[in-house]
């Protein structure tokens, strides 16, 4: 990765829930404008990792530095400042179901960026809805949207604050193959257009291959493999990675 700037540095990160140890000494560097895909079976702690990154969970030990600041040591004010730089797209989109699409996007915008005029707010919302290909949904309620549309609006709502890092939690889960490809394209477009650094959490290898510069496979609470798709998968020697690849590409 040469001299590229590291935006996230994770060292020896541990996290457990009761007696269940999920992360057992994770190490990772994430470079600016890189798309890193974190793969692993369900329950291996992929989502836990990115939730620690935005302060929704706290690690038991180890360090998680984002832009040079240790997340677990930030006070609520500094943490919120950091959160403005990190967009989090949730697995089930997490749109506020009592609000329209416009209100969903206005919600973080008006509370974090003061002195915006109504015109500026509308312009920003319309631009982002255009970017995700759904300008016509602006006055719709989340219950009127399809799964794929919800994901896109979720991404648009996240982008409203101009984040430098995008975290996608299972972006293609529960979607049909065509919509999956559309979402993968959207992830790539977001990176190109807004120059974001991304972490994509998934167990969908097609999504990983299409969106990732590097793959990181979580095995037994640690990254068992780290590299490009070609380096990690087709000729994997580790049986667990091999079976993960086989089930995704051969059995499906």
């Amino acid at each position: 990765m040469g001299n590229r700037e590291k935006v996230v540095v994770i060292r020896d990160l541990y996290k457990s829930f009761g007696e269940l140890e999920v992360l057992k000494g994770v190490d990772l560097d994430l470079y600016r404008e890189e798309n890193l895909v974190v793969l692993g079976r369900s329950g291996t702690g992929k989502s836990v990792l990115i939730k620690i990154m935005v302060g929704l969970l706290q690690q038991d030990s180890g360090s998680m530095e984002v832009f040079g600041k240790e997340i677990s040591k930030l006070g609520i004010r500094d943490l919120n400042e950091m959160r403005l730089k990190i967009g989090f797209s949730f697995q089930n989109s997490a749109l506020y179901d009592s609000m329209t699409v416009r209100e969903n996007m206005e919600f973080p915008l008006v509370r974090n960026i003061k002195n915006l005029t109504k015109k500026e707010i509308n312009l920003r919302i319309e631009e982002l809805l255009e970017a995700v290909g759904l300008p016509q949904t602006i006055n719709q309620m989340p219950s009127e949207l399809s799964g794929g549309q919800k994901k896109r609006i979720g991404v648009a709502r996240t982008l409203v604050l101009n984040p430098e890092i995008m975290l996608y939690d299972e972006p293609t889960a529960g979607l049909d193959p065509i919509t999956c490809v559309e979402i993968n394209n959207l992830i790539n477009e977001v990176r190109e257009r807004y120059k974001t650094t991304s972490i994509v959490i998934t167990h969908d290898l097609a999504c990983a291959k299409q969106t990732g510069d590097r793959m990181a496979v979580l095995l037994d609470g640690q990254f068992g493999a780290l590299g490009t798709f070609e380096e990690v998968f087709p000729h994997a020697e580790d049986q667990r990675i091999k079976s993960f690849y086989d089930y995704n590409f051969i059995h499906s």
Partner: protein, 265 residues
């Protein structure tokens, strides 16, 4: 046998621990309300929206219940008073009963069922679908937007609803008294106002404020701490109602003791 009793003791001590931990969590939750309510930014628009939902949308149910309470209480009281030839005391008796106890209690119990369960279910489902997390990661304060606004709205609106219920129940009582004793509305209300004191109305409003605060706070607390998917949402709504009602009765009992101190003086 010794092993079994040891296990029972262990389970019992775990339950005690969980109970006190729950109390401590609830205390922190309530304390946070007072820390956040006076600090900007203020969510005025959401407070007004919640006041509308809690106040205006509860009116049909409150009206019907209050009206029926007035009629039924009058009907049930008449035989006892008529035995002593004292049916002319009906307006005074009903007014005191409604303003002092029945109005606040009936309104609070209905609001606990309608509003408390609604708040518990709404916030609970937002919690399990990660909407609260989504607010948090976008650097906004979900507690302020969801909890402070709803608790403020219930605290403000329940006293208003109580006064409205008092009025509707008295109208129900008047219709019944008018039909049976041929008492005019002016005579009825003259007797009502001569028997109700400032202390009755003031104490009724004060305890309604506490009832409203309790309903909002319990609903929000249960919703905010719900887990385990849709089952958890159902439990949050259910326990919001049960705990609110229980606390309302305790508060009623305490307020009665306190108000009686003033009456004796």
């Amino acid at each position: 046998m010794a092993g079994q009793s040891g296990t029972r003791k262990h389970v019992f001590s775990k339950k005690i621990d969980a109970f006190f931990k729950g109390l401590a969590d609830a205390w922190i939750f309530v304390k946070r309300f007072f820390q956040e309510v006076f600090v900007p930014p203020y969510e005025f628009k959401e407070v007004i929206h919640q006041c509308y939902r809690i106040g205006v949308e509860s009116l049909p149910l409150i009206s019907l219940t209050g009206f029926i309470v007035g009629i039924v209480f009058t009907n049930q009281s008449r035989p006892s008073l008529s035995e002593f030839g004292a049916t002319s005391w009906l307006p005074s008796l009903i007014a005191i009963a409604i303003v002092r106890a029945m109005g606040p209690l009936v309104t609070a119990l209905i609001a606990a069922g309608k509003v408390g369960s609604g708040i518990g279910a709404e916030i609970g489902s937002m919690k399990v679908t990660e909407q609260i997390d989504a607010m948090e990661v976008s650097a906004t304060n979900p507690y302020k937007f969801l909890v402070v606004t709803r608790v403020l709205a219930t605290t403000l609106m329940i006293p208003v609803l109580v006064m409205y219920t008092d009025f509707v129940a008295l109208m129900g009582a008047f219709i019944n008294v008018n039909a049976n004793e041929l008492v005019s509305i002016s005579t009825f209300f003259a007797q009502v106002f001569s028997s109700v004191t400032f202390l009755d109305i003031f104490s009724s409003i004060i305890k309604s404020i506490f009832f409203g605060f309790t309903i909002g706070m319990v609903g929000c607390y249960k919703g905010y701490n719900s887990s385990k998917g849709t089952e958890g949402v159902g439990r949050a709504a259910n326990s919001a109602v049960v705990i609110s009602m229980f606390l309302i009765f305790i508060e009623e009992l305490l307020s009665l003791q306190i108000i009686n101190l003033f009456r004796i003086k």
